[in-house]
Amino acid sequence: MTEEQKTAEFEERIGRDEKIEPGDWMPEKYRKQLIRMISQHAHSEVIGMLPEGKWIPHAPSLRRKMILIAKVQDEAGHGQYLYHAAETLGVTREELYQAFLDGRAKYSSIFNYPSLSWADVGMIGWLVDGAAIKNQTMLAQCSYGPYSRAMVRICAEETFHHKQGKEMVLKYAAGTAKQRDMVQDALNRYWWPSLMMLGPHDSESTNTPQLVKWGVKTKTNDEVRQEFIAETAPELIASGLTIPDPDLHQDEDGVWHHGPIDWDEFWNVVKGNGPCNAERLGMRQDAHDNGQWVRDALEAYSEKKYGAAAFA
């Protein structure tokens, strides 16, 4: 069979809603795109531990502290599930992770913004996890089996992230004056980055058409952004908070229109010039370096007890 015939057959399989599994033939471009997407996604989960993890020591009640530890832990778990999915495509977690530490791999731009107050934890949960869920729910339908399964598992956990964040924001919006100011400030800083994290406009997004055709994505960035605004804006407004976009409005057909997004800022942050890019990567690099002797000890123990490469 020629490459074209194989590709045609592959696309037919996707058209029949079959899942592509490890071992199945796939176009090289599909494999590459998946590795790119899944590993970026995994790195985002891993780096996503940091902005909120930073606040675990400061959580103001035992319940909030418990919830936040569990939430940040879930993000580590999500990274773990996703690296597993990527590994089924013939790459190792170690090499993907090294590319991330070296700055060769991207991750979601949202995690390069600072978390400046406790209320950011709530806002991140509601908006950032909320926006992420939109994407993840879509990716749970994805044609590649391992990615889809990881997403199904992740979605089930994300709903908790979203709800605990929303619970906090609504509570603080109706709380003391200090709490209201704090949560409004968090909204001012996280609203635009949340819209941006759903990706460039469809007209600018080079990867989307192919990804839709191959059943990796089932919706475009702008469609997902519209859904996100429709779900969050009315509730934010009802809570008495002010969304930092004077142009935001809903037309007669119910479609939301937002002011212009500052894409220069977006691309700047994506390129690694965000406020916390170096700091966050540096922290992961430190964790990696400080953990090297631990991983070496584990390998040495295994080798002594079971022999070299006993499980490889």
């Binding site: 490890p22 199904v152 089930a156 709800k163 499980f311």
Partner: protein
């Protein structure tokens, strides 16, 4: 670091199901990692781990393109058989469906496909029984039961958090 596939049994009636993998250097380490990663929420009653390198794996498409060539090489041993039989949306991959005895992985799979013909397999794994390590039964209570008390990580605990009475129809709920 070696990769280990993890199989979780949710309750007495469910089969062991492939849930993902962990990195670890030995079976005990792998079981701990599996517990920590995959039993953060209920439910589980038992776990298996197996080094990914010990698994003989074929998808239906691979089987179609290069038929199996069973041989008598190797020593006869027990193999556990796992199969994916549906394209339904799911968070698990393979189900454990039984076992067979064969001298090597390829022969074990050829037999398994004959033996378990109730449903067509979309993907198959056979794993030598001796490569699988199970969580100990006498500590099952200590390992798995406490997860059920961690209710703060279940989204249902947060009820319907909203200022608005109407308009949202659970669009973000995706529990399976």
């Amino acid at each position: 670091m070696a990769r280990w596939e993890v199989f979780k049994k949710d309750n007495a009636r469910k089969p062991y199901q492939a849930v993902g993998s962990v990195h670890a250097v030995d079976p005990e380490h792998a079981l701990h990692n599996a517990k920590n990663v995959f039993v953060r929420r209920p439910a589980a009653v038992s776990l298996w781990v197996a080094p990914a390198a010990a698994i003989f794996s074929r998808s239906a498409e691979e089987l179609e393109n290069q038929p199996l060539d069973p041989t008598a090489n190797g020593h006869e041993q027990r193999y556990l058989v796992f199969r994916k039989a549906s394209n339904r949306r799911s968070m698990t991959f393979m189900d454990h469906i039984g076992e067979t005895s064969a001298p090597n992985g390829e022969s074990a799979l050829a037999q398994a496909i004959d033996q378990f013909d109730d449903k067509p397999g979309l993907a198959w794994w056979v794993i030598p029984a001796e490569a699988i390590t199970a969580s100990e039964e006498d500590v099952a209570e200590a390992w798995f039961a406490p997860a059920a008390t961690k209710t703060y990580k279940q989204q249902s605990q947060y009820g319907f958090v909203s200022k608005l009475r109407e308009g949202r129809k659970g669009a973000v709920t995706s529990d399976e």
